[in-house]
């Protein structure tokens, strides 16, 4: 790996997770306030995460299996905020429904 590739790949991977985090935060804030704008901003962050994933897969000198792993990981990120939100919502509702 060249020094430039090392720097670029590490930065892209860091930004990959950071955009996932931003997606989670904005998706949560959007659901909380029923704000379409925030939810869309969240999806935009997830879109950015997928773009970073594409860039890493096309340009980074990582082995093929790691790229497959990153693709699966990137797809999983898409499900975590809505799934977590639904789970928390269900837990809270069940708890409130109890006497």
């Amino acid at each position: 790996m060249t020094p430039m590739a090392l720097f670029a790949t590490a930065t892209a991977l860091g930004l990959f997770v950071l955009s996932g985090g931003a997606y989670g935060v904005l998706y949560g804030a959007g659901s909380l306030r029923s704000s379409r704008l925030l939810t869309r901003a969240g999806y935009a962050c997830y879109g950015l995460q997928l773009l970073l994933l594409l860039a890493v897969c096309l340009a980074a000198p990582l082995a093929g299996l790691w790229k497959v792993f990153l693709i699966v990981s990137g797809i999983t990120y898409g499900f975590i905020p809505p799934a977590t939100w639904r789970l928390l919502h269900a837990l809270h509702h069940r708890s409130e429904a109890e006497p």
Binding site: M1, T2, P3, L6, F7, T9, A10, T11, L13, G14, F16, V17, L18, G20, G21, G24, V25, Y27, G28, A29, L32, R33, P61, L62, A63, W66, F69, S73, T76, Y77, I80, P81, T84, W85, L87, L88, H89, L91, H92, R94, S95, E98
Partner: protein, 464 residues
């Protein structure tokens, strides 16, 4: 108030004092990078570093123990069994820490023999305390485990959080025994040593702080037990599922089989996923309670814990955890940057949140707020982010110049550490370290005074 809760307050006091020593030793360590001859032959770099990382472990451990002594009797509605022994051992623990610190400062190191190992320095990073003190820690931890288990048995009551805690205390105490073997083969030695360091930090401590945060959320926001317990089970499953085999991401350059690198890279790369779930949970909790709380500092530190853990462990960790990157970044200031952020996010913020929670109860204040906590919160977090930014710059310079370009030779090491990027990073780290230290001073002032000053109007619910 239960006796064990009074003991908890003593543990928190000791923890915050050690946090200060850790900060001071850290500042000194940062200064050595810019002035290597500083205190040369008087108090060298390695001694300041030993003091810095050992006090880190001990202040967090004392914070955890204190938190359990605080929450346990409330959870079981029963005084802690064996509290007298726990009280005695607290003083023994503090005295032992003080003696070890004095030995580290005045004696520093000895010859390579049994005497040095037993009475001066064990020579193993993070667990340098001499053998007698290490045995003392075992006694303290075993007593702590006895307190928890015996109280649950005597109270004839068990909760989900307590089950998780008790199961976690088994590896927590057993893994510390890894500090003891005298293995002369360095590869074998480091192989097992990582079991202690990694498993404590990325497995058992994660579960422990999960239990403490569960109790904290119940007390702070009134979240129902069913919710926190359900979430705790999921979190524990995910954290342990990714954290245990993530161990392999440390096995670089120490002679372990190559398959460990892929195993470690794979599992540790999964670690941000549960952390993302925790961030979403934090948003949910903050939102459903409309940011309403009677304890603003504790609430904000809990939020800082969720976000700090995600960025420090998740983002900074993922940057360098794949083997192709880790090969170059391992052991540079880059890992130091990740370590600082992850420790602070995952544990430091959590302990401070619990201290504020406890103080509100001990000072019998219905509403807890001040100006000073905002300053300390801002200075500590701003200082920390600045420090890890500086370390990140320095670490990337090392990975590029020393490893990728220079091929890890001694000459390359010198070239990298003399590069302007590395030097600038170190200046930035020291400057922000001073900001962090100021934050600590304000934190101590606030902890001493909050709730004692003019009370907030009784009907006001503070909006964060």
């Amino acid at each position: 108030m239960y006796r064990s809760q009074r003991l908890a307050v003593r543990y928190f006091t000791a923890a915050i004092a050690l946090f200060g020593i850790m900060t001071a030793a850290g500042l000194l360590t940062a200064a050595y990078y810019l002035q290597p001859s500083l205190l040369y032959n008087v108090f060298d770099f390695q001694m300041a570093k030993i003091l810095h990382i050992n006090t880190l472990v001990i202040w967090l451990l004392m914070g955890f123990i204190g938190a359990v002594y605080w929450f346990l009797p409330k959870e079981l509605e029963h005084e802690v069994v064996g509290i007298r022994l726990a009280e005695i051992l607290f003083y023994v623990f503090c005295a032992a820490v003080a003696v070890v610190a004095v030995v580290f400062i005045l004696v520093q190191y000895g010859s390579s023999n049994q005497f040095s190992m037993w009475f001066i320095n064990q020579g193993r990073k993070y667990v340098e305390a001499p053998r007698w003190a290490a045995l003392g820690i075992v006694v303290v931890v075993l007593t702590f485990v006895f307190n928890v288990v015996a109280t649950a048995v005597r109270a004839r009551r068990m909760t989900g959080i307590l089950w998780v805690l008790m199961l976690d205390l088994v590896p927590l105490s057993v893994l510390y025994l890894d500090a003891f073997p005298q293995i002369t083969n360095m590869s074998h030695d480091l192989y097992w040593w990582w079991w202690l360091v990694h498993m404590w930090v990325e497995a058992t401590w994660e579960v422990l702080i999960g239990c403490l945060m569960a109790w904290s959320l119940m007390e702070l926001l009134g979240t129902s037990r069913r919710i926190v317990e359900a979430w705790l089970y999921i979190e524990v499953m995910l954290v342990l599922g990714t954290g245990i085999l993530g161990l392999g991401h440390h096995y670089f350059w120490i002679g372990t089989p190559q398959y460990w690198l892929s195993i470690g890279g794979f599992f540790s790369a999964l670690e941000p996923l549960p952390l993302l779930g925790m961030v979403v949970h934090a948003i949910y909790d903050a939102g459903t309670h409309r940011m309403q709380t009677t304890n603003r500092p504790a609430f904000c530190w809990v939020l800082a814990e969720a976000f700090g853990n995600f960025i420090g462990a998740g983002v900074f960790g993922f940057m360098m955890t794949l083997p192709q990157i880790n090969l170059y970044s391992h052991g540079t200031q880059w890992t130091v940057s990740h370590g600082h952020f992850a420790f602070w996010g995952a544990y430091g913020c959590g302990i401070i949140a619990i201290v504020y929670l406890v103080l509100q109860r001990t000072r019998d204040a219905r509403f807890f707020d001040s100006r000073a906590w905002k300053w300390s919160f801002g200075l500590l977090n701003f200082g920390l982010v600045g420090m890890v930014g500086g370390l990140l710059i320095a670490g990337i310079a090392q990975a590029v110049y020393e490893r990728a370009q220079g091929g890890s030779t001694l000459q390359a090491f010198v070239v990298a550490t003399e590069s302007p990027w590395f030097q600038s990073g170190m200046y930035v780290r020291l400057a922000f370290g001073v900001v962090f230290a100021l934050g600590y001073v304000v934190l101590v002032y606030d902890l001493l005074t909050i709730g004692k000053r003019a009370p907030v109007a009784a009907t006001q619910v503070v909006s964060a």
